[in-house]
Symmetry: C2
Subunit: 873 residues, 2 copies
């Protein structure tokens, strides 16, 4: 504990004047907005204004110049390590990644909430890959303060990790030689693969439809022995479809030299080939497998052959209607939000927030306020898991923790007009790795959208009021190998905030062996000639550091429960009533929660000390949102392959104390050391009590002692139990893969705040006393009690808001508008037609999409198209 | 049983030639589409084509001329009843409603699925209100065949009702005199109401902010004695806000003459006033209440005063951004669906369906097919319940079954450009009641919309493919008093069908008595000076008569379960694995189901005999959709106030045998006879077995014997546990009140059908072998293994679809498109800019909204603005 604390402080000491100058620079720097579409014949758009964040974005990723400076600094500090930018061997030393070390919240709050305070020290977090005692490691280091000065130091970074370690050992085989081994192995069985699959490794045409790829999936057994299985795939090069082209031949491989996690030897692959598995039958060795294959009467199963069925497009079909483009959303007069692109700061109808992006976890949102009140300190993805099951050696052990591959690293360029509206703002990210900085162009977008449905409406006998539901979306798409995750942070006019993840892309199927023991149905559906859909769970963890009207918060369940009651005014006429009521249960310890049965409990985070005008605690409700049903957690109990790497997946929601030493619930390197993960979530959600002294709220303390100021953090999961079916081929569809959690204001304000910002119209109808909703009652029908007198408009106006003088003037603003018969708009309606250039409807993708700088996992030259993901090991 | 069967047959006998001529007329009648927006400078829109439904819409509501004919027929048949069009008394005889009697499915299927068959007999369903033995009744009658001929008969209609009855007794007080009684009662306590509320009944200015309304809520006690409570409201006339203006004074009333359900006397109100209840204290009678009120030191609680806080609009606030209109969706080149407005038949990218609307339950959808295959015979709302709880005499007993008030009757005109896009198709409905036909203009809309997110996408090293998610929505909005329900049937390109209901409008609050025993928190939050938010459950029932690829279907749960397994190829190296697998559980009896824990089961309806190309049963999945979390059922167990009126609310989902004698799971009149409801759902879902002989499928039998052909029906609920908070004032917001159930194809086709219809683009990138998803691996970074050779476009084309010759040509169509580097569109993109007239952005509501014929529950002349709903009794 002491050492973590020390490091934390160490990293944060520094030179005030440098930090001040950073702040100065950032405050005077040029902010801009991109010019909008050139529209004619429209009302003048609002002026291009300089919009400036009130503070520096202290969470911002390193700028390229900062990264460069740190690289230089580290190459001096680590001069003995022979840092290379082009590693050739797993034992080479190189800077794996570099990014901002997120400042401690305890240091940021004074900066955000007081006038005098300087921003917290800026530090970098470097991941070094290097050999120690002959074994490769990844290790975390803090570098700071920045900019580099004589005071800048690099120190091991341990405080964010529950393990107390700052490294994981990277006891994996060398990928280059292992891939070469696999390829050679595949070549050595070309006779078999040709016979069974009609395919073979073809170095001259590696991406041909009947070429083969061979990948290993390796792991450790209980005794610490490294072993794995090699599987063959067709490349599916045309659309990146290899994950639905498994070939159903599996070869067991074992590390021959006994190199294992415990030993620290050169981990260059030196493999012994063991059993072979095909069509449900295990063969002791290659000779026996080969002999069997060429024996007459050998039982073959149909191969999994590429073809148009893996195409993601159908250019030729022309059903009625396809000759027309679909409806489309436009924003001809420009955006209604304000964006400081430099500081990545957004203001939209009361919402204000910063955002940034990191290589491991993608886009995150910080210091979210609504109408000046604090709502969230941080909202960020932590980890994205896919956990498979199956009865073949690959599918059965397959799981991915995608932050290891990089949700930000794999957030590729968005297609304007498709991934996001043509009118969206697009922003770049940077990757700092291997001593270099790369740009990921236009991989974040921000846009407002108007729903197909209203936010609110009401019809009365004399008026109709309709209010549009517009929302603001911050979006990125991470394509991690086969899957594309569209990740949205959505903001609504009433203060609601949503996290929504949609999956598309290719499933990772399993080979369907028709003639084998028919256990495939136990793990999926048959979705092509020789493809099983391969059951898997997606569980994606997010952190929400809620600060509902301040940091001191309490979590409660508000249960809606059936009850039998007797009421004093009811006796003796009615007796006992079966009815329902509310009961509140405080959450007094760190714990995991599942969504309640019958949605019968509200999970509420309340301010510990702030109430609204009606005396109700200001709160936000946490609820499974507008995805498909309620978000699930991992089906597998105590997963063998995951070990302790992802215990957060076992419940829907967690509430824990916020600590500087627990900034994240997961670490990317958990993936390669699941048994001894750097961050073990069970040590974060470990039952500490959440009862606190309300007086602490105004001065949140750095942690390190046992005092607790009420600053809690929610971890929650989105995802799905995915049993793909024929409709997932070629790609999973996003509308039914959506999963969401919503944070909805609950007594947060005194009244619905959207009334102040929404656009809509009140139709004041001619005052006719017309029919009732149902006949046979007084006033029903259009019977002869109709009274067709129509008061003059003037009379209407006088009458309609007559009560303004009498009414409760608490809200002040309301009621000054004179209503007239007809359409009374609030907010601003369209007032003229517009002349839309083609770009507003269909961006010129040949220009707009920066394909030249487009990057995507492309391991095809090494045997894998489309970023097939490797397990290490 | 026999009698029901007989009636069913009776109604269906008739004259073939008449029916044939109806069919002839409908086939030759003029079909049309409305001309679209007048757009300049755009590509020529597709021609206006005549689009004709293949069959007559046998579910269509009565045309005005048909209704007229039936009215005339009935006035002769019922000449002795003195039918009036202007009833003045509850014992008067009048035709309450008239609509189409939905034909039996067993009669419709031959018409739909064979060439020779004539449409089934057309019949009407009339509800007669009349006195029998001195008691008022509602009774159902079948009238047919239509058109009226010498063979036309009117007979009591009993077969659709589990009760075997065709009537309910309407033992309620006369509303006119009861309302007058309440008003007089309120006037008699003007001194008290002025003292406590600052308000009194004001006949000269009944809608003034400090005028009072007085409503009764009556019910029966265990002994059959009619009693109730009168409550006072401020009128909230400006916005129809009376349901949030309860005044907290309650007077008990008892029928003095002993008139009760069992007796059959004149039910004119003749009331005795009993206890008074105010601020948590019960007073034995008015004298004691009055004495207490004017005693010094009497404990008053603040009144619930109207004011700007009930306004649904804020015209004056001008936060940044509100000076601009929000983004908006356009469809400049016209719709892509086809609509036969006369037959109410739609065709859209493989979907084909009919729709209609009824007064009780609003819009329903019929004979839904997808790509020629049957999916659903019927999808329709059954009932919409709101069930309250509270500790005052009103809130505690309050429940509404809104079909009684009429979900169709109260489906008012939609606001073009707001309720639905400006480019939507709008259709009218008709109400046939009291011997007249009224038009509800533009109260159904149909439109296509493009989501803010994609349907599918995938990025590879060399290409990106993005496909737009467009969907088709059929919408209506029912404003039943305080609440506005937006009801959508949504169709997706992959064959998915969604039912989605969103609530807005005013909550029905309870008076918040500040000084009383503080039990209000048990039933809601305080949301204004003297208003409690009043906990309630919304449970809305729909029927889905699924015919997945035919009528013979099976329902199963496909469970995703944790399991510990040992695999043959795994031993002894790994041992037992904690993993998961699938297990299927058939549903073998009629039953109610709740959504599973952790979403761990798929509810699937499979074709009993049809499989897809891969041997998987064609199916649809039923899943809680894109509303807020999973849909809930009623919290209250065995509700005292509901009795047997709505047992369907007790589970999320039901599966039952389909029968001609069980066309609906609820009846509107259940509301007024909950103890002996016309339709008791427990007699529909009564445990009959669902195991069937597969051979029956092709000839679905009329019911009446015990054979079961596998034709099952799903009843399901949407809704919410609504604990309104300050953000529900003034109106509940629809984005967080949404509730949905989705029907998603599950192995229904051989491959994703949306590929044939979707619009999107494939970006073929320049072929660069660029960086991998993570560095430190071969191909990672932009290291020196880059290969910047760029093959010529020609080479690309040759290569990219080279495998077409080799591939599996099963799908036939795919793969003929020559890809080129850059944007390859599928479907039709926009190709020119457009000049949009203002009407495409902002319809001229002063013209477009037919306010002259706008109708809404307006009981204000009788004391209630905005259709305050009465309980009968």
């Amino acid at each position: 504990m002491d050492s973590r604390r020390r490091l934390s402080i160490r990293c944060l000491t520094g030179l005030g004047f440098l930090l001040s100058s950073v702040a100065f620079l950032s405050l005077t720097a040029d902010r801009w907005r991109e010019p909008r579409l050139n529209l004619k014949n429209v009302e003048p758009a609002t002026k291009v204004r300089v919009f400036t964040a009130p503070k520096t974005n202290v969470w911002a990723d390193l700028r390229p110049d900062e990264a460069d400076e740190v690289y230089k600094f580290l190459s001096k500090e680590w001069v003995d390590l022979n840092i290379t930018r082009t590693p050739r061997h797993t034992l080479d030393s190189f800077i794996y990644t570099l990014e901002t070390l997120q400042p401690n919240k305890s240091d940021v709050l004074p900066y955000l909430w007081t006038q005098e305070s300087a921003p917290p020290q800026r530090c970098a977090k470097a991941v070094l890959s290097h050999a120690l005692d002959g074994r490769a490691h990844y290790s975390y280091h803090a570098v700071g303060p920045l900019p580099v000065s004589p005071d800048t130091r690099v120190v091991p970074l341990t405080f964010p990790f529950t393990s107390g370690r700052h490294y994981v050992s990277k006891d994996m085989p060398d990928m280059v030689s292992t891939m070469e081994f696999c390829r050679s192995l595949a070549e050595s069985v070309a006779d078999i693969t040709t016979e069974l699959l009609g395919a073979r490794v073809d170095r001259d045409n590696p991406n041909g439809p009947d070429s083969l790829l061979a990948f290993p999936r390796t792991t450790w057994n209980d005794a610490g022995h490294l072993f794995g299985w090699v599987q063959f795939f067709r490349p599916g090069y045309n659309s990146g479809a290899n994950s639905i082209l498994p070939q159903g031949i599996y070869a067991r491989i074992d590390a021959v030299d006994g190199s294992s996690g415990g030993e620290g030897e050169d981990t260059d692959a030196d493999w012994k080939v063991g059993e072979w598995f095909y069509n449900g039958v295990l063969y002791e060795n290659l000779n026996k497998f080969r002999a069997a294959v060429f024996e007459p009467g050998f039982l073959k199963t149909p191969p999994n052959v590429d073809g148009p069925w893996t195409d993601t497009e159908n250019f030729d079909a022309s059903p009625d209607g396809r000759e027309l483009p679909p409806p489309i959303s436009i924003q001809p007069l420009g955006p209604r939000y304000k964006l400081d692109r430099k500081e990545r700061y957004v203001s939209w109808f009361g919402f204000e927030f910063y955002f940034t992006s990191t290589q491991a976890t993608g886009v995150s949102v910080h210091d979210v306020r609504f109408k000046g009140e604090r709502v969230m300190y941080e909202l960020s993805l932590q980890e994205a898991m896919a956990h498979y099951a199956g009865d073949d050696p690959m599918a059965s052990g397959q799981e991915f923790l995608d932050s290891f591959f990089g949700m930000g690293t794999n957030a590729f360029e968005l297609v304007p007009g498709y991934d996001c509206p043509a009118y969206a703002d697009y922003l770049d990210s940077h990757l700092h790795r291997l001593g270099k900085t790369e740009r990921l162009p236009s991989n974040i977008c921000l846009f407002e959208f108007t729903s197909d449905h209203l936010l609110s409406r009401h019809t009365t006998a004399t008026s109709v009021t309709v209010s549009r539901n517009t929302f603001l979306t911050l979006r990125s798409v991470s394509t991690v190998g086969n899957y594309d995750y569209t990740i949205d942070y959505v903001f609504y006019l009433d203060g609601a905030i949503e996290v929504k993840v949609r999956a598309s892309g290719y499933i990772f199927g399993a080979f369907y062996a028709r003639n084998a023991h028919k256990t495939e149905d136990e793990y999926g559906h048959r979705v092509h000639d020789a493809l099983s859909s391969s059951l898997h769970d997606h569980v994606i963890s997010f952190k929400a550091d809620l600060d509902v009207a301040g940091t001191a918060n309490d979590m409660v369940h508000l249960a809606v429960e059936p009850v039998t009651k007797t009421y004093p005014w009811d006796q003796p006429h009615f007796g006992r009533r079966n009815t329902m009521h509310l009961r509140e249960y405080p959450v007094e310890r760190e714990t995991g929660l599942d969504w309640p049965k019958n949605a019968g409990e509200f999970y509420l985070v309340y301010s510990s000390d702030k109430k609204n005008a009606w005396g109700e605690r200001k709160g936000y409700r946490i609820v499974s949102g507008t995805g498909i049903g309620s978000t699930p957690h991992l089906t597998v109990v105590n997963s063998t392959v995951l070990a302790d790497a992802a215990r957060w997946a076992e419940k829907d929601l967690w509430v824990v104390r916020r600590k500087d030493t627990e900034p994240r619930g997961a670490d990317p390197f958990n993936y390669i050391d699941p048994v001894n993960p750097l961050v073990d979530f069970t040590r974060i959600a470990n039952g500490e009590d959440l009862v606190h002294d309300d007086d602490n709220e105004t001065s949140p303390t750095a942690d390190g002692d046992d005092s607790y100021d009420g600053d809690l953090v929610i971890y929650f999961n989105v995802g799905s139990h995915h049993v793909p079916h024929s409709g997932d081929v070629p790609n999973t569809l996003a509308h039914t893969s959506a999963s969401s959690v919503l944070f909805v204001p609950h007594n947060f304000a005194d009244r619905d705040p959207s009334r102040e910002s929404v656009q809509g119209v009140r139709l004041q109808l001619k005052h006719k006393r017309e029919g009732a909703g149902f006949p046979g009652q007084p006033g029903g029908g259009d019977g002869d009690d109709d009274d067709d007198e129509e008061p003059s408009e003037e009379e209407e106006e006088l009458k309609l808001r007559a009560r303004d003088g009498n009414g409760n003037g608490r809200e002040g603003k309301g009621g000054h508008h004179k209503l007239h018969t007809g359409a009374n708009y609030f907010g601003t309606p369209y007032r003229r037609g517009v002349n839309l250039p083609l770009e507003a409807l269909e961006p010129d993708l040949e220009k707009a999409y920066q394909s030249g700088s487009h990057r995507v996992s492309d391991l095809s030259s090494n045997g894998s198209a489309a970023g097939m993901r490797f397990q290490e090991p």
